[in-house]
Symmetry: C2
């Protein structure tokens, strides 16, 4: 992984640790919240917010709260996805899932708490950067659209309730553009808005992140089909009954699709000129990841 990514990931991690330490939660919620907030992760979404925002001229330290917000939203969605009534997963990031460690009730409450907290964090970055073009209401709307009933929640609901046998590429794209794509797009879009991006810049960044998110999901599918749990730190082969890009196109076909999406992603930010360089590097790094 390149240095740009690692430095920002450490900054996001440090912000998350501080956030967990400062949470004024009752005793019974402290351990589940701390584990939910600080358990290891790639922090791709948070780094995406920072990379986009910095590329468009915002100061990294002022983007940190918003970056942490997207990691909280992501952590929240993983907790919910893992629940017995959803994917019923036992392992996540190499450790017992939150409901296995602390019970379903505290896992659900922790997930909802993280989601709420993310709105305060987005508002804090907005107050620090004060982008004249984008009032806070527009930024909040952008987040809600990503995680609301036509965003990640829609993707998860359709994923859980569609019949694998009748699934086609269109439905799979619907699911993943929402389950993974929507939050990628919002992470990047909010970074751009906080940096005061123009509509055209925002459009470029959103197209970049949409393709990047889909490619990221396809890489996950490929890794699920070809890796062991030791490597991934989560249950593998969970997708067996499900239609995935790998099942639809084979491993080679999925790899090909992945490369095409990354190429499309990089083309989308060409109008940004030299500012696009760190975004190109991030896309290339994600294309080549092995875990």
């Amino acid at each position: 992984m390149d240095k740009h990514f690692l430095i920002r990931r450490e900054l996001v991690n440090a912000r998350l640790v501080k956030l967990a330490a400062e949470a004024s939660a009752p005793h019974v919620l402290r351990a589940p919240l701390e584990k939910a907030i600080t358990s290891p992760g790639k922090r791709v979404r948070g780094v995406l917010t920072m990379t986009v925002g910095e590329a468009l001229g915002a100061r990294g330290d002022k983007l940190l709260d918003a970056a942490a917000a997207f990691e909280l939203i992501h952590a929240s969605s993983l907790i919910l996805d893992d629940l017995p009534s959803m994917d019923d997963a036992e392992l996540r990031r190499g450790e017992p899932t939150l409901h296995r460690a602390f019970g379903e009730d505290l896992a659900i409450l922790a997930a909802v708490a993280l989601l709420n907290q993310s709105y305060t964090l987005v508002a804090a970055s907005h107050a620090a950067l004060k982008p004249r073009r984008w009032p806070l209401a527009a930024v909040i709307d952008r987040v809600v659209r990503a995680v609301g009933w036509d965003g990640t929640i829609a993707g998860e609901a359709v994923d859980l309730h569609c019949e694998a046998e009748t699934l086609d590429f269109h439905t799979l794209e619907y699911i993943h553009s929402r389950k993974t794509g929507a939050l990628f797009v919002a992470s990047a879009a909010v970074g751009a808005m906080l940096a005061g991006a123009s509509d055209a810049m925002l459009g470029s960044v959103e197209a970049y992140a949409k393709n990047l998110g889909l490619a990221f999901q396809i890489t996950d599918d490929i890794l699920d089909a070809t890796s062991s749990p030791d490597v991934l730190g989560k249950d593998v082969g969970k997708d067996e009954g499900k239609l995935t890009f790998v099942r639809l196109a084979g491993v080679d076909g999925a790899r090909q699709l992945n490369r095409e999406l990354i190429d499309t992603s990089i083309r989308a930010i060409a109008p940004l000129g030299s500012a696009a360089e760190p975004l190109r590097a991030l896309a290339t790094m994600l294309r080549d990841r092995t875990s």
Copy 2:
């Protein structure tokens, strides 16, 4: 119930019906969302937002989105409270609870969707009223504080994990000031902020709503101990194993406490002068409610 209350409740209901109709959710989420948003309720929190905001000079129609937001947050918390891993309730408002009707997964996703949507609605009322004293970030923070890890979520977590035998009045007050009180206070506080209230006015309104919320919860405890499910439309006697105000002080003691809290509530808004009249009427109405 008085006319002031009924008119505003109808306005909130109409806004919720419109919201459910406009939700751009996938097919599988539509029925659970519609039921979650539009199933009958007292709408006390939404009416509280409107009554406070109007009393302090804001236009009712511009407060409606924020009022609907607090009803969505409340509906969301009821769905979560009723889950098998929490109170495991079968009936709510006279009908099967959401997870009994649609499954746990869709119930949880619907609850999270309502919570997210509420932030957009609060932002919409803020954009309509543009209170100079209170930027949107302050209003969002106020909502997050109420529903976050030191708010309703903390109250619910402690309620689920404390030992009834060792509970005292202090812990019971901790639980209910968060489980019920926090959202009452935020509903009123946001109404006041949207109307451009001064710090002193906001303080009065918050003290009013804090005592009102606790009184409201005590009335619920009394009704749970003395009513039948036909009257209440939800499981009764659910509190039997739990420490409630009724168990702590007896029915007569709880009634006495209820009256004292309502009196304290009304005294808190005396500094508002004649603007306090509709708030006094609301408190009196809630004191005398029988369902």
